[in-house]
């Protein structure tokens, strides 16, 4: 029995049990992750899982069931159970539900890789992590950590409308950090970002980010931060590096434009959104420099795919254009409720989880300035980079973010290193104060491999193209 056969059996069983629509995903995922600490490998985990998840729409109510078995009997049982669960959902019924009409698709997709990450010898990977953590220890780290992660995922999707799609996603990434421990606090420096850098890529990504070439620097910076002056409190001009901008986009734009949040479907947990659909197309989200797209077709970015988990082909569209809110992230059901003509942003974290609205590659289109231009153009301000902490309210409006490192900017020059830099703001006010934006040479597709959402919890992989940017009148230096 093929994976398509199993998915088809589950769909048919759901229809036989009364569903008017059903879809099923067979997913098989291999994972490998290794970490080293202070010059020794501390953990290697390899895992594999496969199974089938089936979704059934009975009337206007949904049900979902997942099983690890791919036998015909197990698949049919899952399909029947999904329909039975949907009928139970109707005990607390909602408004009429339907799916956005789409072209039925059959197809295959896989992202290209140059070096299959799972085929790189474990000894080579271990040697890399041991070497960089040893280097960090030699240059001042009290705790030196390095790790990589690899995901190899295959999906087979079948719907009662006739979809039949298979995909093969290969993702990987790596990162490292150095922690220096002082008497009263700790300081950390990470590279390339707080969790590393990840993409739909082979091991070539890990080679490109050059961990060995940066290990000594971040260790020395973490040590230096212990005695650096505290970031002053006040209102000032803020320059953010590209990695922190990726976090800023993810938290204050990406989640805010998820249509399930806007419709209230996440109200009790992840939260809602300050955005009101009646103002889609007219609301000013930020300055005219701000153009953000959701583009799952970007080669190598972590949020890329060929089709989402409802079978909608990947396609880019605007989220914010010249500062005006123009788009959302949607699925076929939420798009119908909102009266929007597009979906394509629904994914599931493994076979056992319900597909839901997730970010794809939500990111800024670059501007014309450079980081050096921004510093040179700033009379007084602070430059911060590399996320350390992040907190934002349940409407994605009020945020306070902390970075690992900052520098004074005075009369157009980068000055002293600053420790514990934080900044806070209200999303549209903050984005409205963006007055300089990095250029295409500084455009990086940052990957976030740990986006949490949903109940039961799901971990999403998202991408965030970003560049450095400058903001005026920002409150910095909030401390406890």
């Amino acid at each position: 029995m093929t994976e398509f056969d199993a998915a088809g059996a589950a769909v048919q069983a759901a229809l036989d049990a009364g569903a008017r629509y059903a879809d099923a995903r067979v997913m098989s995922r291999r994972y490998e992750g290794m970490s080293a600490r202070n010059g020794e490998v501390e953990d290697l985990t390899q895992s594999e899982e496969s199974g089938l998840g089936v979704r059934a729409l009975v009337g206007s109510s949904w049900g979902f069931a997942a099983v690890p078995d791919l036998t015909d009997a197990a698949a049919r049982d899952a399909g029947a159970r999904a329909a039975a669960i949907a009928k139970a959902s109707a005990l607390v019924p909602g408004p009429a539900a339907d799916l956005l009409p789409v072209d039925v698709r059959t197809g295959s997709w896989g992202n290209p890789v140059q070096i299959d990450a799972l085929s790189v010898p474990l000894s080579d990977k271990g040697d890399l992590l041991v070497a960089v953590t040893s280097t960090m220890r030699e240059h001042g780290a009290d705790i030196a950590l390095a790790s990589y992660e690899i995901w190899d995922t295959r999906k087979w999707f079948v719907s009662s409308e006739g979809h039949r799609i298979d995909q093969h996603l290969r993702e990987c990434g790596a990162g490292m950090n150095s922690t220096a421990i002082g008497e009263h606090e700790t300081q950390r420096r990470s590279y390339p970002g707080i969790r590393g850098q990840f993409g739909t890529s082979g091991w070539e990504l890990v080679e490109q980010i050059d961990l060995p070439g940066n290990a000594a620097r971040i260790a020395e910076e973490s040590r230096a931060l212990l005695t650096a002056p505290q970031c002053p409190a006040g209102e000032t001009t803020l320059i953010l590096g590209g990695e922190q901008m990726a976090l800023q986009i993810h938290e204050s734009v990406g989640h805010a434009v998820e249509l399930d949040r806007i419709l209230g479907w996440e109200a009790a947990f992840a939260g809602t959104s300050w955005l009101d659909l009646s103002r889609l197309g007219s609301l000013r989200f930020g300055s005219e420099l701000m153009t953000i797209t959701a583009d799952p077709t970007l080669p190598g970015a972590l949020g890329s795919f060929g089709y989402d988990d409802e079978g909608t082909p990947a396609a880019p569209h605007d989220i914010v254009r010249d500062g005006v809110w123009t788009g959302v992230l949607a699925g076929r059901d939420s798009a119908t409720v909102a009266g929007l003509p597009y979906a394509g942003a629904v994914r599931a974290d493994g076979y056992a989880r319900l597909p839901m609205v997730r970010m794809t590659n939500v990111g800024l289109l670059p501007g014309t300035d450079s980081l050096e231009d921004m510093i040179a153009a700033t009379d007084e301000g602070v430059y911060m980079d590399t996320n350390r902490s992040w907190s934002i309210d349940d409407r994605r409006l009020n945020f306070q973010f902390g970075c690992e490192i900052g520098w004074e900017v005075t009369r157009g020059r980068r000055g002293r290193m600053l420790r514990n830099p934080t900044y806070t703001g209200i999303s549209p006010r903050f984005w409205g104060a963006m007055d300089m934006l990095g250029n295409p040479a500084e455009w990086v597709f940052w990957g976030t491999p740990n986006c949490g959402k949903g109940q039961p919890g799901q971990i999403g992989h998202t991408g965030h193209p970003s560049v450095p940017a400058r903001f005026t009148g920002v409150r910095v230096g909030v401390t406890g």
Partner: protein
């Protein structure tokens, strides 16, 4: 089945690598969750499965593998790939050895009705919640969970447990006022059996709190005396457990904790206790070590920390039975936290003693700025009210805070510990925290919802 599966994997290991030290953990899980929003069920899921995890130490090297396949081929592949991986890795100098034989601290709490709960049971609890909210918009979830666990290793340790849990958690939402912001009220309950969940009672509480949240006023930043409801206290305890009482963090100097010193108010007593009748989960950890009661704070005196075998060896002590699956990088964590009740009575009783302060329902999106000081930023959520002269005067708009959780419970800072504990479901996981409400002398609000 789980014990037999664990034994079968060990047999495969012994046949392929007789000198290997190996441990196997098998978890058979059924998880069902009914989710509602805009007052109707919009997501309703169930999944069943088995996870087999094998950790092996071979020729001085350590590797871990896992699979959700239970057929012969899958298990054979798991053993072969883990052996192959172990042989390619650098030596593991810190291998702490396997847990020796010993009995489990508890066989767990099992309830057939929870394990077998059909979707109609959860839907009815949701229906009761929605109906009790009296027309207010509602959202939340009802969850049932059952797990049969078996652990076995080549040192002879064999333990098994079966446990269930259930939770209901929801908000009622008052329509937006002039400022365009809704007032949400929350109620939640965690239990070992679904029959204990009362959707109507929870819906009634959530609706009353939402209505009491109408017309909030903005307050300026500053330090406020606070009464934290159990859900808010649970957040404080959880982060204290993750960062403060984490044995690895203590050994490395990343925690504020100095065991044996008076770092907390004398009114505070916290322990981690998998044997408590209200505890959710097994009586042994991911390494098969029994989980006995572990005092963390006793009348203000710091205890702990908690350890797995590796962090215990690094610290020159014994494991406390707090290894978490996949937690090799982060270290050990307490998973059954209990803040023991005090003489403070109800939330209303605690409020009655406050001259001017705030009553806080939830702390939301809390993130640690520095693990050593345990300074945390986050926001209030689902209801915050101004207290004056022992009375709740009016609703307040949400506030952002930046506060050291360790200092918040420090000597002289706890003005009251409530008498009635509540089981608070952990929002991102399947566990729960048991805690009464707390009255704290000072909480650092650093901004309003408007900035």
């Amino acid at each position: 089945m789980s014990a037999a599966l664990a034994a079968a994997v060990l047999e495969l290991v012994r046949a392929a690598a007789p000198d290997a030290e190996a441990e196997v953990r098998v978890a058979e899980t059924t998880l069902a969750l009914t989710r509602f929003a805009n007052s109707f069920v919009h997501q309703n899921v169930t999944d069943t499965g088995t996870r087999v995890r094998l950790r092996m130490h071979l020729d001085g090297r350590t590797a871990t593998g896992s699979t959700n396949g239970t057929d012969t081929d899958s298990l054979g592949r798991l053993v072969a790939s883990t052996i192959a991986a172990a042989r390619l890795l650098p030596p593991d100098q810190g291998w702490p050895g396997l847990t020796p034989p010993g009995p489990t601290a508890t066989a767990g709490n099992w309830d057939d009705a929870t394990a077998d709960a059909p979707p109609e049971v959860r839907a009815r609890i949701v229906r009761d919640f929605v109906a009790a909210a009296g027309g207010l918009e509602t959202a939340g979830f009802c969850r049932t969970h059952a797990e049969r666990l078996a652990y076995a290793n080549t040192a002879g340790q064999e333990v098994a447990a079966a446990y269930t849990s259930a939770a209901a958690d929801g908000i009622a939402r008052l329509a937006a006022g002039p400022g365009g912001v809704r007032a949400d009220g929350v109620a939640r309950q965690a239990a070992t059996a679904v029959g204990e969940l009362d959707g109507a009672a929870l819906g009634t509480i959530a609706a009353a709190k939402a209505r009491a949240g109408a017309d909030p006023v903005d307050l300026p930043p500053g330090r406020y005396e606070v009464v934290l409801e159990p859900s808010a206290v649970a957040d404080v305890l959880t982060l204290l457990g993750m960062y403060g009482f984490n044995g690895r963090a203590v050994t490395e100097g990343r925690s504020f904790l100095v065991p044996g010193t008076a770092q907390f108010d004398p009114a505070v007593t916290v322990d981690d206790d998998a044997t408590d009748p209200a505890a959710i989960g097994p009586g042994f950890d991911a390494e098969g070590t029994p989980k006995g009661p572990t005092p963390l704070v006793t009348a203000g005196l710091s205890g702990g920390p908690v350890h797995d075998r590796r962090t215990a060896a690094e610290a020159g002590t014994e494991s406390t039975g707090h290894a978490i699956p996949g937690g090799e990088r982060f270290g050990a964590m307490p998973e059954n936290l209990f803040l023991r009740p005090g003489p403070g009575g109800t939330v209303d009783d605690l409020v009655a003693g406050v001259e001017r302060g705030l009553l806080v329902s939830d702390l939301w999106y809390t993130r640690v700025l520095d693990p050593k000081t345990l300074v945390v930023t986050g926001l209030t959520r689902n209801g915050v009210w101004l207290i004056e002269d022992g009375q709740i005067r009016r609703a307040v708009s949400n506030l952002r805070f930046t506060q050291s959780y360790a200092d918040a419970l420090g000597p002289g800072n706890v003005a009251g510990v409530g008498s009635v504990p509540a089981g608070v479901p952990v929002s991102w996981d399947l566990g729960a925290v048991s805690t009464p409400p707390l009255r704290l002398a000072s909480w650092n609000m650093t901004g309003g919802a408007a900035g």
